[in-house]
Subunit: 242 residues, 2 copies
């Protein structure tokens, strides 16, 4: 379903085709929490390419919120209902969590589901949108070899985009994880959540990470930068020297 | 002569002691060319920590220029009279080049001399300021192993700061060179001069590169960023996530 292509040799701008959906790569994802329904337009203005609605973190009825976001922006929307074990805040049962995600998918262009979600296969059978399958290591206990295996598991599970968020513990760790990114040909998003890995949010995109997540007012994960910081940093780092 | 120390556990700001001279690490170096005598103050305002006077690139009498810069700024000054084979523009003989550098050293806090300079040893015997010994590979033909050897040669030659500017040809090259930076304990400046390595100018400092060079109006080397771009990028990438 996925395809990576260079669309213009002149601009070097790449695109990622996910079925009917085409997104720029790398794309800046604005991760919206709290009063999300009012923030989509601001995210767009700050340089976001995609909006993520964190169903587990928004104020009010999450389905009402994503509906409003859908009516506010023409940007692609990712629906995410993060489980507690991976840094989320959803308080219901696993079945309730997946049901909400699947309902929200109606207004989304992509959904994000965890590799470790108990009902992952059920969810994947029931959804007809491209899927991000994600893995978060908040403790930084995964070795390079383990993460390589996890990336393979994610791809084998049918991910259109693989997403791995790591808590690197050293600069050498960062280089190993950037190396992992260079090795894979599958569309992959790699995120650094520690202080020592924070810069990966702006640097991993240069090494092929297809998505990078930023916040508007309030971080939704450790080490996250704001959308405007990402936009600025990518502009400076990614520009050609002319 | 050199020593790397963490001065405040609170700010995590490091300093590099070079004899009597103490500089922040990483430090942003504003490389001044052309009408350099008027630019030092602007460089300071844009966030430079050190001023480099490119004796081979300034308008007018280089000794007059560096004297004016000395009287304009309290920032440390690097005197550089780059040889043609390493990207410079000095048109006299090697002896004239070294004589000008040594005279300029009077108003400088550091001097930069090339590992491959014919009169390097003579120059080092005659100067009592800390020394940056530099190597530039504009073709990108040096392998990782060769650059590792060059770094050792630079250190053995008595460099207070080793400076290696590489033209990386791939993202994998970048990771290898960042790895080399992690391996050395000697104060080292690592620079990327290609498009694919351009971001190293802002990223190598996070991996221990002690200096990063920016321009004010006009680049003095391929892939160079401006001082204000470096200041901005380091601010975003280097900040702790709080």
């Amino acid at each position: 379903m996925t395809e990576m292509s260079v669309t213009s040799p002149k601009s070097k701008k790449k695109e990622l085709k996910l079925g009917q959906l085409t997104i720029p790569a790398p794309a800046i994802v604005a991760s919206l929490s709290g009063d999300a329904s009012t923030k989509a337009l601001a995210a767009e203005k700050q340089g976001a390419d995609i909006i993520e609605v964190r169903l587990d973190l928004v104020d009010g009825d999450p389905l009402e919120v994503i509906k409003i976001v859908r009516n506010t922006t023409r940007l692609p929307i990712i629906a995410t209902n993060r489980m507690r074990e991976e840094g989320g805040s959803f308080s219901g049962t696993e079945m309730e969590r997946i049901k909400l995600l699947l309902k929200a998918a109606k207004w989304a262009n992509l959904i994000d589901i965890e590799l470790r979600a108990e009902l992952r296969e059920l969810a994947l059978q029931s959804v007809d949108k491209p899927v991000i399958i994600s893995y978060h290591d908040f403790q930084g206990t995964s070795t390079y070899e383990e993460l390589k295996g996890i990336l393979e598991d994610i791809i084998n599970a049918g991910a259109d985009v693989a997403k791995i968020a790591v808590t690197t513990k050293s600069l050498a760790d960062n280089l190993a994880f950037l190396g992992l990114l260079l090795e894979t040909t599958h569309p992959t998003c790699m995120i650094g959540m520690s202080d020592v890995g924070r810069h990966l949010r702006a640097v991993a995109p240069l090494y092929g990470s297809v998505l990078t997540y930023g916040y508007l007012d309030e971080a939704t994960a450790p080490g996250q930068m704001s959308v405007s910081q990402l936009h600025q940093a990518l502009g400076i780092l990614g520009a050609s020297s002319g």
